[in-house]
């Protein structure tokens, strides 16, 4: 039986990284987490498996096809396909013990049984933030969300992005003004993909739906309105015919844009874009998308918006919210493909301690000193030739090697080799600490993403 070997393999569509890349991925995730905590979001960790009726309470046919669902004993189980439905369940279930507004972040794996293709994943991380109100939720929260996106991407070192903001009430209001509200849902979907399919194709599809040609023209002119936020808002106001929803949308958008700049988001990092509609019927106000300036073809890397009622499928409490989601696994894949990742920031270990004698006592003591001083240290205990030890150090890509041989033991020193510069010095152990620290601080200041 021992000889009947199984071929070791990983399912396609499931990302499995080598340690060096995993370090980078984790650094991105922890940067997100730290920033979310800074902004007052609390962590949440819900199960990956849930009762199917709970997860699929509001799902449609498309979702059902793409999920991992199975039975075990009497239970009908589904692996979560997003982090929003579990949040809705959580808030409905624990309503009495939560304090609203409830700000939560969750970074976790979700599952979609889609057809596998390059850059599409069946298991992937989402990083979500949401602010949930009880009954109502102030509009200024809608402005904090883009400021957090800006803060997170800036902390990572990404500069090549624009947050695009719109308000679905404006689009809905326009549909009302044009008396084409019956087509709203489908028309939103077409508007949403206009960048991908082009103006002419979108116009054709809208006409095919039954919208009169001149109304299609008006609609397309409308969503193409451009300029600075101020210019666009005044053009929008000029467009208004007293339609209430439309005017409420403009007012909300104005509040959001005004507060976004209070949060310190620079003008060049966000803009109003009237073509952002988000396909989901779920959003009812502010909507966001974030795209790379130099790579618009990649589409949105961080999307979300305002919804009126998070958990209507589980509770009669009205729980409005606003949030965004980053597809972390896909983002990592893209950053890697674009060569945007700064590999030098992912040092596997700061120092490799190499005992050069058979007595390990001093090598262990030095490693302990490093660790007490918050430096990551590995000790190499294998009985190998010097050549092999050096090759190990080279292959793991360590910045410092500390040799502890007979002389170093006698004199209580350490011979420290900087593997980047090649320079080797023999110094006291305390001095070694400051040499290593100084050098690592330089690396530590480097951002994870370099897109210049």
């Amino acid at each position: 039986m021992d000889n009947a070997r199984v071929k070791a393999r990983t399912l396609s569509g499931f990302m499995e990284l080598m340690p060096q890349d995993q370090l980078l991925f984790n650094k991105i995730a922890s940067t997100l987490e730290e920033h979310y905590r800074l902004c007052g979001f609390l962590p949440l960790d819900t199960p990956i498996l849930e009762n199917s009726d709970v997860l699929l309470a509001k799902a449609g046919g498309e979702t059902e096809k793409q999920i991992y669902r199975f039975t075990k004993g009497d239970s009908d189980l589904t692996m979560r396909f997003d982090l929003t439905v579990p949040l809705a369940k959580y808030v409905a279930l624990h309503y009495n013990d939560l304090v609203f507004p409830f700000k939560r972040y969750q970074i976790g794996k979700v599952y979609r049984g889609e057809r596998s293709q390059r850059g599409r994943f069946r298991e992937f991380y989402q990083a979500d933030i949401d602010i949930i109100g009880d009954g109502e939720l102030a509009i200024t929260n809608d402005a904090e969300i883009p400021s957090i996106i800006y803060g997170v991407f800036s902390a990572l070192g990404l500069t090549d992005f624009t947050i695009r903001i719109n308000n679905r009430k404006i689009l809905f209001g326009l549909f009302l003004m044009l008396s084409i509200e019956e087509y709203a849902e489908e028309a939103m979907r077409i508007v949403d993909k206009i960048e991908k399919i082009g103006r002419d194709k979108a116009a054709g599809e809208l006409r095919d739906m039954g919208i009169a040609a001149e109304k299609v023209e008006l609609l397309l002119q409308f969503i193409a309105i451009s300029g600075s936020s101020e210019e666009m808002l005044s053009q929008l106001r000029a467009f208004s015919r007293g339609e209430e929803l439309f005017e409420r949308g403009i007012h909300e958008l104005e509040c959001v844009v005004k507060a976004v700049s209070m949060f310190g988001v620079p003008e060049e990092s966000y803009k109003i874009d009237l073509s952002i509609a988000r396909g989901l019927d779920y959003y009812t106000g502010t909507v966001y998308e974030t795209s790379f300036d130099k790579h618009p073809e990649i589409g949105s890397i961080c999307s979300g918006g305002r919804y009126d009622n998070l958990a209507g499928h589980y509770t009669d409490k009205k729980l409005p919210g606003v949030g965004v989601s980053i597809g972390l696994t896909r983002l990592f894949f893209i950053l890697n493909e674009m060569n945007y990742l700064n590999r030098q920031v992912s040092t596997p270990v700061d120092v490799l301690v190499l005992p050069m004698t058979e007595s390990y006592e001093e090598a262990i003591a030095f490693a302990s000193l490093l660790r007490t001083n918050h430096l990551n240290a590995q000790i190499y205990f294998e009985d190998k030739k010097f050549k092999n030890k050096m090759s190990y150090a080279n292959r793991i890509n360590v910045p410092f090697v500390a040799f502890i041989g007979e002389d170093e033991i006698k004199q209580r020193t350490v011979s420290l080799k900087n593997f980047i510069s090649g320079v080797q010095v023999t110094v006291s152990r305390e001095e070694a600490l400051s040499v290593i620290r100084g050098s690592l601080e330089e690396i530590g200041d480097t951002k994870i993403i370099n897109c210049t």
Copy 2:
């Protein structure tokens, strides 16, 4: 359809924490992670779903019964039930790209479809560390593992524990000396549970297997040998009749114990315990268990050992290793039950900023100042009465509330209320930073676990 509500519920055996507890859980996990990194371990994150033949390559009937296995399209899939099998697969699959010794940690969810009962989980976190060699792996690695367990538990604030160390070669050698090696595997299992079932019952079971009464007596005398490490080692040596495996076991145990103290683990935190056998046939040398001194009934909270061949089911490469695993979800549950968790260390947010006028600009500016200075800040934007705002602050358990009203805006100050002491001061914004920092540093020095 909107009225057909589904009851929001979470599967039994699946831990879902409230935010305050989640903060504590995450703090424990990040303390582990930080310590593993300090000791040179690299992160790994393997898929939760794998091909069933890969995960079950070496599984027996018991495992098969307890797993979540299902088909999707043509694929026969299983949710991982531990982190060791995925590690074996990973190392076999990526053998050519890894550098050995390969030190990895993984903290992740695993799944067991066991009958649900209090304190037993179907979805739970394991935190594993392993050091994998290529062909061979020095024995000193076996000593570093308990030093890491010691370091991790100490960093958490746990003092009430003992790491118990044994070597299976000694037990196997003894079976050879007594000519009862044919009973070895079953006898190990009985020895392993002797603390639970008691000496007499164990003796009975061993005799029932067919081992002669005087040999059972000798075996039980042997595993009851006690004393300091040095005393025990010398008693073991006296027991030896030149049996090679037995002597190799003693030699290895001696090396491990000697090096463990070099790593700075104090005498009172570890001991040799000849009754530690570990049920799994997988271990071939050093074995570890860690138990609470005051609560031995809980059993081991961190177990592991040395194995000769990690990935024999996937590759002909010989990959020996040594590692331990912490059942993190169970540990958290136990610490909570024992009232060992220090709730004051999990502050949801450092400062709640309360704008007292309709202009948010200064409140946002102050929150941004806090965040830039690495203080977690939340701004309350809801249009509520003062009473409600204060009740919110109380309920989220925030240490500081910063009021920004008309006076504060005019004078560029902030009124800062310490919610623990009740003291309120009006100070400049820079002063506020240092007041908050000073107070939080005190909390920051508190350990997560308090077991005194």
